[in-house]
């Protein structure tokens, strides 16, 4: 099988897309910590359950952004292929 420069760049782009999705680890950990603290807050003060839940969801949705940057980078590498000349 002959591999020319274009194929090599496409293959490396696919590897880069895979590596970019490692960014999903961070938001996972962060959202887990937020959910854990939310659970303990509800345990301490069950009356404020709705407030705690909405604050937790808002924070988690904002924390998710960094992981989604990784997703956008991966999709760009896979489908837009900016490196293929």
């Amino acid at each position: 099988m002959d591999i020319n420069g274009q194929d090599f760049i496409k293959g490396c782009s696919a590897i880069g897309a895979g590596l970019a999705l490692i960014a999903g680890v961070g938001p996972g950990i962060g959202q887990g910590i937020a959910a854990g603290h939310g659970a303990s807050a509800v345990g301490r003060n069950p009356g404020a359950k709705s407030d705690i839940t909405s604050t937790m969801l808002l924070g988690q949705a904002v924390a998710e952004t960094t992981g989604l940057y990784g997703l956008v980078t991966a999709l760009l590498l896979m489908f837009v292929q900016p490196l293929v000349g």
Partner: protein, 242 residues
């Protein structure tokens, strides 16, 4: 077997925006009408019909609401309550804008339920929304802090921090639009993968994917977008008040 299935299905996984037809504008070149435009028009049509019906109903409103009038009053009260809670005394100036983008983004995200490709999964849509928010933030900054206050805020710890503060200001619309875009797009991609690669067992249960990605995630992201808009605008106003 799994490999061949994956390969055979993988060739027609489709979550892209499609161009429907193109115009050749003199001086502009080719301008494409895409599926996003059609979906936005459908969403606008739904909002328009709802608005006309609601207008008719409210014109002959009764003191004791019933049926459709109840629904309209509930929506307006909930939106007003959300904006009031986030913006305090500035709420009445921005209730129109925030309410409008809230309803538009929410219906756009929900349009995935109708089998459409949500218009918010197109970066053009979300970037346009974020640019509007950015213009409002900048206008309110100049209105309430004046040029002196804006320059002072830009050089806040020290003069040489100005470029970093400037980048921080311009990162606001980019991060806001990318957050909404990528959240909706991830749902679209996963649904497309399930419907094409797992088409032999995709009966019934993908409804739960729609509930999570279209309804839950869509509503959360709509709330986040409006909340961030209100927070930034409020900050721009309050920084000029002391």
């Amino acid at each position: 077997m799994g490999g061949t299935l994956l390969m055979s299905g993988g060739s027609n996984v489709d979550f892209m925006i499609h161009g429907l037809f193109s115009y050749n504008f003199p001086g502009l070149g080719e301008v494409w009408i895409t599926t996003s435009h059609v979906c936005i028009l459908l969403v606008m049509l739904i909002i328009l019909v709802f608005a006309i019906v609601a207008n008719r109903k409210i014109k002959k409103a009764k003191d004791v609401p019933s049926g459709f009038q109840n629904v309209v009053e509930l929506i307006v009260e909930k939106l007003d309550g959300m904006i009031e809670a986030a913006m305090g005394k500035n709420a009445k100036y921005f209730a129109n804008y925030i309410g409008t983008i809230f309803i538009f983004i929410l219906l756009s995200n929900f349009s995935g339920l109708l089998g459409l490709r949500p218009p918010t999964a197109d970066y053009g849509t979300t970037f346009a929304l974020a640019i509007m928010t950015f213009c409002i933030i900048t206008f309110q900054k100049f209105k309430h802090q004046h040029v002196k206050g804006v320059v002072k805020g830009l050089c806040s710890p020290w003069v040489f921090w100005a470029p970093i503060n400037l980048i921080g200001d311009f990162a606001v619309p980019i991060s806001m639009s990318l957050r909404l875009f990528a959240n909706v797009l991830s749902g679209v991609v996963i649904e497309a993968l399930v419907y094409t690669l797992l088409s032999w067992i995709a009966t019934g249960w993908p409804a739960f994917l729609h509930v999570y990605f279209d309804l839950f995630s869509g509503a959360i992201q709509t709330y986040v977008f409006c909340m961030l808009t209100m927070t930034y605008v409020n900050q721009a106003i309050e920084d000029g008040e002391y």
